[in-house]
């Protein structure tokens, strides 16, 4: 069932409820006049732990890519010890295909600030840093404008409605990154926040125990926090009436896909943009109804479900349901950021794989050898295949390399290489005939580990 009323886009005109041309910055006064900060008021009337329990009960899952339950993440914090604790807001939106957080920051930043204030109250965090990617110049200024308004209205700062936390008045700051995809990885983000290169940390310790400045830290995505205000206002029962629940008979321990979600859609469609829908919307519905169909009436060939690290959906997966279960059902990594990239019948999948491999080769931080070398070599091999100089050995090699690098095979610290290898592996596997037709039909006597299955 389509989403009846917009939640995150309540004040941001979006089809089918409004026209994106009418979008404008929503300031503090307009935000409060339309039900804003009501969720915060309700949260402040509750004990901090009760707020965490409510978010847990709602089964709100992280909207930044991994889909980790937000309430559970909040409950990992150790007991208060009177010392400082931090909130790091991940606004380092850098995953190709993803432009949803930008929409919230551009037009309704107080929705994010409300979620930040609630999280600070619930988790007893005294300082919030919004880590925004360096390229978002205008967005950093917009955020600062909203934060200044929030300080003036005692959301943050001395005399804050939150009261003192850890014997400090709560503060919220913008911290600008400087052009590094890896800083969207939560521990890379923390390193960058501390003024170092954005090299992901080996875990444990997890950030909830020792995060920013070696203190307990919560890291949440912009959209996740933006959802917290409406959730506190309208409650878990309302939230769980939206999105996609568990099928009958499935135990409550299996995470479901409740709530609405922002979907960014780009590529070969008539009306690209960000849309809000229930989790579980079909890819075909998103393309036909929201994005007004395929560009120039061409046929659908493939789509990236949620940022390029998630892999690819093929022509027979046009009706795939875009929810947190998509990875299991459609042999891709997951829903990711729900940044959908659509490709038409004329798209060269070898070029797509080459583009994606170049991105990861460029953005690998260089710490772990399998990722630094693996992504670079995948790019080189794919460049050769695209240029027509490849052989079947190259395809074997691609599959072998992609199966052996990443946090899942256990050879790297973070998941960047997993993103690279899922993308390349799913494209090569799902479009094998296209790749096979592009390479010389010769195989050397070399036996690929991928072919004999030794790396699986």
């Amino acid at each position: 069932m389509p989403l009846a009323q917009p939640v995150l886009c309540k004040r941001i005109p979006t089809y089918p409820w409004g026209d994106p041309k009418d979008r404008q910055y929503v300031g503090y006064d307009q935000f409060t006049a339309t039900g804003g900060y009501v969720g915060l008021t309700k949260a402040l009337a509750m004990a901090p732990k009760a707020v965490i329990d409510l978010v847990k009960e709602a089964e709100l899952r992280g909207r930044g890519g991994a889909g980790f339950p937000a309430g559970l993440k909040w409950s990992f914090l150790p007991p208060e010890d009177g010392q400082r604790r931090y909130l790091a807001v991940n606004a380092d939106e850098s995953e190709p295909g993803t432009f949803k957080d930008r929409l919230l920051i551009d037009f309704d930043p107080h929705l994010l600030l409300e979620g930040i204030a609630i999280a600070m109250h619930a988790c007893r965090l005294d300082t919030a840093y919004i880590y925004i990617r360096g390229e978002y110049h205008a967005q950093a200024k917009t955020l600062q404008r909203a934060i200044d308004e929030a300080y003036a209205h005692k959301i943050f700062g001395e005399g804050s409605r939150l009261g003192q936390i850890n014997a400090l008045w709560p503060n919220c700051y913008v911290h600008r990154g400087a052009g590094a995809y890896i800083c969207g990885e939560e521990t890379g983000l923390l390193e960058s926040l501390e003024g170092k290169r954005g090299w992901p940390r080996i875990k444990p310790p997890f950030p909830a125990v020792a995060g920013a400045f070696a203190r307990p830290t919560i890291i949440n995505n912009v959209e996740t926090l933006a959802m917290v205000g409406p959730l506190l206002d309208q409650g878990p029962t309302w939230f769980k009436s939206l999105g996609k629940g568990r099928p009958d008979g499935v135990p409550a321990s299996v995470p479901a896909s409740f709530g609405p979600k922002l979907y960014g859609i780009s590529g070969h469609v008539n009306r690209p943009g960000v849309y809000e829908e229930n989790l579980g919307i079909k890819l075909s519905t998103l393309i036909e109804d929201h994005a007004a169909g395929m560009l120039k009436g061409k046929k659908f060939k493939a789509a990236i479900p949620g940022g390029i690290s998630m892999g690819v959906l093929g022509p027979d997966e046009y009706h795939a349901e875009l929810d947190f279960d998509i990875g299991r059902k459609h042999n891709c990594l997951g829903l990711g950021t729900a940044g959908v990239i659509v490709m038409d019948q004329d798209t060269d999948m070898v070029a797509v794989a080459r583009n994606i491999a170049r991105f990861f080769a460029h953005e690998s931080c260089g710490q772990c050898t399998p990722c630094r070398e693996g992504t670079g070599w995948m790019y080189k091999v794919l460049t050769r295949v695209e240029a027509g100089g490849g052989t079947l050995d190259d395809l074997d090699l691609l599959l072998e390399v992609s199966a052996s690098m990443g946090a899942m095979p256990g050879t790297t610290i973070c998941g960047l290489a997993d993103g690279a290898n899922w993308a390349v592996r799913t494209i090569v596997n799902k479009f094998w005939p296209e790749f096979e037709a592009r390479v010389a039909q010769t195989r050397s006597n070399r036996v690929s580990l991928a072919v004999v299955g030794a790396t699986h």
């Binding site: 205008a138 400087a178 003024g195 780009s266 260089g366």
Partner: protein
């Protein structure tokens, strides 16, 4: 690429008597930025941004001054600054044109666009025009996939830039 080793052995540092990190800028940073963080080092990114904003790039002398200001070793400042693509350790043109080359932009015609801009300016990506006016770079995803192809010119994002209307982004520049 963040991990390419940059050979600085034997490099000489050009010096000038006037500091890059001026007393006025220092006072502003001490009042506005340092109190935000529990450590001085955490202020490094904002300080690098501030100095680069004033001088357009980060000369080695500026890195040394920043190191002294934040009680860091110059090597620590270089270590961080060299990791991030947005920090320029060499001079760049007055206008930095970054053309996004990630997937949505390539699908929507970025390759032709880049070629046209490159021919118009007479430079390849990575180069600066001899008059120091333009530097052309490719960029990975600028977060504007719904209005692809896109390009960032200094701090301004230009959306839906196509090969046949790209000149409008140059027309806005002096």
């Amino acid at each position: 690429m963040a991990w390419i080793a940059k050979n600085s052995a034997g490099a000489t540092i050009e010096r000038r008597s006037e500091p890059y990190l001026t007393p006025v800028l220092k006072a502003k940073l001490e009042a506005d930025v340092l109190p935000r963080y529990p450590t001085k080092r955490a202020a490094l990114l904002p300080v690098l941004h501030a100095v680069q904003h004033e001088h357009h790039w980060l000369p080695a002398q500026a890195l040394e001054e920043i190191a002294a200001f934040l009680d860091l070793a110059p090597s620590q400042v270089l270590d961080t600054a060299s990791f991030y693509e947005e920090f320029w350790l060499n001079p760049k043109g007055k206008y930095l044109i970054m053309v996004c080359q990630s997937l949505s932009c390539e699908l929507m015609g970025q390759t032709g666009l880049l070629g046209k801009i490159s021919r118009k300016l007479g430079i390849a990506p990575g180069q600066t025009t001899p008059d120091g006016k333009y530097t052309l770079m490719t960029a990975e995803c600028l977060g504007s996939c719904g209005s692809a192809p896109c390009a960032l010119v200094n701090e301004v994002l230009h959306e839906n830039i196509h090969a046949d209307n790209f000149e409008r982004i140059l027309d806005t520049l002096e």
